[in-house]
Symmetry: C2
Subunit: 121 residues, 2 copies
DNA sequence: TCGTATTGATTACAGGTGTAATCGGAAGGA
DNA sequence: TCCTTCCGATTACACCTGTAATCAATACGA
């Protein structure tokens, strides 16, 4: 199950909310980024529900939406797909590419080294 | 300029060939993976040419296709887009995610460490 | 009670994608 | 010269995406 770019922004809102949200609430929180109308957000919610990425509970006449899949698992799947497609499953060429583009700051480099050191224990 | 998944496979064939290829040659080399018909490959080539991702030179009645963009630059752009969207521009969370999924073998880890060490000099 | 606002559902519509079939013209063999 | 074949170009068509508008039903305020 793939989630499109626009749908992903809606997922981010739901993932970052500690409680289920109505369509109107989701729209308010996405508004900052995109100039979406409420109708557009409702379309996204319908499509995500149809895909099984979110679920809802009826509260009176409204729905309260929440994510049905964990961000970690979705992001994990997509990450793997990405490194498989572009780098033959190896992460190092990706690191090399981003390093060459100066997309890594010292803090990020230190964090990566810490993760790897931890891995080897 | 985005390249779709199917188009990307055609690009890989052109990127990996030392010389320009005809549509039929491309089709033969993609065949292993997908069960595409020659017509499908021709569609991909037309679309990629329209996007400016490949170019061609006429050789008699045929075209000889070659990539018009470097793999490194395209892959670099997509990588950045990917880490921006899923990890807020930091690479370390991606490393953490893949590490948790055991998607990193020793060789890959060593390669990454070498790249980072090199970076700091 | 009656209109208005609100909500999910349905419909819209252009552009991209996957996967071809068909067409028109040219090259090449009979 | 004529027929077949091979090429790129054009057309096809269903599904996905981005971005809504509209509809039918309901709740709520006057």
């Amino acid at each position: 199950m793939r989630i499109s770019d626009a749908e992903f922004e809606v997922m981010e809102v739901l993932w970052s909310s500690p409680r289920p949200l109505t369509a109107t609430e989701v729209a308010k929180r996405v508004e900052g980024e995109r100039g979406w109308s409420l109708a557009t957000v409702k379309t996204m919610l319908s499509r995500l529900a149809a895909k099984g990425a979110i679920q809802y509970r009826e509260e009176g006449r409204r729905y309260l939406y929440s994510a049905a899949i964990a961000r970690e698992s979705y992001v994990g799947r997509e990450s793997r797909r990405f490194v498989d497609q572009l780098f033959g499953g190896r992460l190092s060429p990706l690191v090399a590419r981003l390093a060459e583009e100066d997309a890594l700051d010292d803090e990020d480099v230190a964090a990566i080294e810490a993760i790897l050191k931890d891995l080897k224990s």
